[in-house]
């Protein structure tokens, strides 16, 4: 039990340390590479199912054969990796921010199905991590070229909404919550990959003017919606 608690709390502590230099404390890192590395680490930690999904499955009694198979992300609940890779950097950040905002709402709704204080604490720590991550996203958006032209992120919908209609059926709600958390971790995994691709091609981002980068990304996103398969995986759209 203690080991399990350690598994859950340790990543959260690491995340907390990562957030110490984030805008949550009032200022942003002005070094692109450092902020990008921080986002990558945060995404890597937040993708771990031991933070949310595993405790949820255990507390709801879903760790049984025949049930675990149905605890899979619903297609379209979160933007796919291809969709994220197809976004320009600015749009990617905006999508990420919006999606995580919805995740926060959904996690708050999940709290009523979690009676144990210990599990509630785990959930609250995850919510704090997401808030910190969102702050870093805003900092990254400021570092991206053309940040002066940015406005407050508006909801965009590259996929479908991660918040399906709540149901009064406890069992169905339980399954949906499980699927949602599964999708959340998968989504953070994809986010981490995209950030890693950012790190692999820093020169490319410097070659393009801020304006170019922002809007080319947007156009490529529109293009990618039409023909996603034409885009090679692992490359940022130009």
């Amino acid at each position: 039990m203690r080991a399990q608690l350690m598994r859950r709390t340790l990543p959260s502590l690491v995340l907390g340390l990562l957030f110490l230099s984030t805008p949550a404390m009032g200022s942003c890192l002005d070094k692109y590479q450092e902020l990008l590395a921080q986002l990558q680490k945060q995404a890597d930690i937040m993708q771990r199912t031991s933070l949310l999904l595993d405790p949820y499955i255990q507390s709801q009694g879903l760790d049984k054969d025949g049930l675990k198979e149905h605890c899979r992300e619903r297609p379209g609940a979160f933007p796919s990796r291809d969709a994220l890779q197809g976004l320009g950097r600015w749009e990617f950040l905006r999508t990420l921010d919006t999606t995580l905002g919805r995740v926060l709402h959904r996690l708050t709704a999940l709290q009523r199905d979690i009676p144990k204080a210990q599990d509630l604490e785990t959930l609250n720590r995850a919510k704090q991590n997401i808030r910190g991550f969102k702050n870093n996203i805003h900092c990254m958006a400021q570092l991206l070229p053309g940040s002066s032209e940015t406005t407050e992120p508006t909801p965009t919908d590259p996929g479908t909404s991660p918040s399906p209609t709540p149901t009064s059926d406890t069992f169905q709600r339980r399954l949906e919550g499980c699927r949602f958390l599964h999708g959340y971790h998968r989504f953070m995994h994809s986010v981490g990959q995209v950030f890693r691709e950012w790190g692999e091609s820093p020169s490319r981002s410097r070659r393009h003017s801020p304006h170019q980068g922002l809007w080319k990304g947007t156009r490529r996103m529109q293009l990618s919606r039409k023909n996603k398969r034409l885009l090679p995986r692992g490359q940022l759209p130009r």
Binding site: D65, I114, P115, D169, F171, Q172
Partner: protein, 855 residues
Amino acid sequence: MRSAVDDAKTPEQSFWSNWSSWEEVHVQNSLGHDPFFVFPKDKLVEEGSNVTICYVSRSQPNNISCYLEGVRMQGEQLEPNVSVFNLNHVAFIRETGTNIYCKGDQGDSIKGIVLFVSKVLEEPKDFSCETQDLTTLNCTWDPRSDTGLLKQLSQSYTLFESFSGKKTLCKHKSWCSWEVAPESQEMYNFTLTAENYLRKRSVHLLFNLTHRVHPMAPFSVLFTDVSATNATMTWKVHTTGNYYTLLCQVELYGEGEVIQRNVSVEVDGKQLFGGLKPDTEYRAQVRCANANHFWKWSEWTRQNFTTAEAAPSEAPDVWRNVKSVQGHSVVTLFWKPLSKLQANGKILFYNIVIENLDRSSISKLLSIPAPANGTELNLDQCLYQIHVTANNSVGTSPASVIIVSGDPGNKEVEEERVKGMEDGFSLSWKPQPGNVTGYIVEWCDHPRGPLCDLQWKSVGPTTTSTVVSSDAFRPGVQYNFRIYGISTERVPYLLEKKTGYSQELAPSDNPQVVMSNLTSRSFTLSWKDYSIESQPSFIQGYHVYLKSKAGQCHSGSEKAVLSDDAVCCKYRIDNPKQKTFVVENLQPESFYEFLVTPYTSVGEGPHGAFTKVTTPDEYSPILIRIILPMVFCILLIMIICYLKSQWMKEKCYPDIPDPYKSSVLSLIKSKENPRLTIMSIKDCVPDSIEVLNKQEGTRKSLTETESSKATYLYLLPTEKSYSGPGPCICFENFTYNQAASDSASCGHVPVAPVAPLSQLGLLTSPENLLKALEKNYMNSLGEIPAGETNLNYVSQLASAMSGDKFILPTNPPEPALCSEYKMQMAIPLGLASPPSSGSSSLSSVTLLDEGEHYH
């Protein structure tokens, strides 16, 4: 459907309304698009209830499987598309409910319900109310198990007082506060009700408020007037009304003792404690209760204090060890530290007063700082009285007095053995007829260590036995005890000696055995270095084990079977001081193995490695005794012969027999032939010279000297004709041989060719000489008839047939041959020089003068 009023004020027997009329609904119409449904949704039941689960499917036939927490359920099909599952005595699994779900045969669709199983609500236990200040009642209870679920909150508790009609909803699960009415209501009748979604439970409590007073803990506990033996304790109590008296209980803990007092207190408490121990820390505590109606003691309030020091109450226990060193007494004084009860404070130093009883005016004072427990004194042979006192910050202890004299008092007494027990050694001694003031038993805690760690035990004059115990006693260690009597003059004298083991152990080592005197029939074993005093038990004797192939045991031994099933003979030596043993009755040329091990009352030594030995041959010693002297004698004779060989040769068989000593001469003389006489050499003229060719490096002529070379040079000028190594020429004179002349037969001897006398003069010239030599020598190789000689001289030329080593080489073409003149004459031993390997290429030539004769 029917309904009823649900209110706490309403009695249990509430009235229900009438049932509504039945409504029929077709289930298929309510399914919507889903393939099947599971009912009932989110039902809440108590643990142990019976629950029926059903599903309704749209299609027929259906292949739907239903599971309870992953375990498939067996149901009953009511209709083609309706099945039910009866669950009996459902159990609580988790607070989030029990998952029951059904899946179609494709496995892609899943429907389920959560059955919330609540624990059964139990009655609160140990419901009780009390007050500390008569203004607030604190009611507590044991809530038992929590029935909270995801769908149901934990049970709630309400407190209802029937006299006042007041009711309060408790905020906590296990306790609740109730404000006491200002009108001083004394009686209270409480009803505590626990309630959840499914059930209610109530308990009641009726009491008088003044009987439920639980005072608060006293405070301001202080100690005043603290001396070495007395202290005063004061404390205060919280007021619970003007007319209440409290009973306070005071406890004092110190040095394992408890002092308990009960004190009646209204406002302040006070208690005097006497008979305390000096320099002792005490722990005091006090608690109070209602003196009129006891309900509960308050919590303890604790405080510590320490009494003041006092002078040490006892004299230190002193003992001594006396050694005489070069006419002086080295006295080591030991004393035991005073116990805490005796010291009455921290001992700072020990005072030692040494008083010379022989010269009473002389005394000496030593101050030894604590925590020393001994000191060494160098005294003369006088009688001394030593006073030892312990001192702390307050005063001095009584003195311990001991008399020390130059005589250690260690008279020779016989040592007795004692048997140790688990708790030590039980020692007893004979009572002394004279007056003794006490006895002292002395021993060393570590007798094997460099520091003996002297210990002693003092007993009274009427005691003649004691048990000596020590944590230092170890099994297998021999401890020696000395029992002293203390005379009325306080002079100790040795009474008895005891020795023993707290626990005897079997010997762990065997002696190092040396074998000697090995014969064909016996050998001797000895283990002189084996110390019986340093063994882990008293050695009672030794066992000598002897293994042999024959396996027969002679008298004095018995057969024994070892742990490895080997059979051997065992000899027993009952005297531990006997450290030699002769093993007898052995067979010659036989292999034996032996082992010597000590035995004690607790067993014998280890049966380790046996020593191997093989007895020698029986006749070898005899043969050696005979042959060795014989060989010695022979060698002696040979040495003598060798040393005296020349003398013997000369005496017994000289090379040239002395004709004067010849028996033939006597025969001739006896035949009266005066003409016959011995020829003198000076009368002879040499007729020939034989040249012998001898290989270089062979033995030279006995007469070869440096001077011979000069002689040779005279005859043979080689300075010009000879250069470098090469064949040399030796000359040999021909001595008259009486035997040969007599026999007149030299046929078997190569006779040198006789040269004409005229040729002799030619020899003066070297060239002529060489020529003559060459010629005659070549002739000499042939057989010369004896009749061809003109003179009756017989050449003593050595021939190859005679076996002489100075032979002519039979292989003339070989180079590096040496010619030698062979002198046929006897030479005194003193003139003989050893043969030189490095002989010159030319041998010497010696020409004997006529008439010169050697005997």
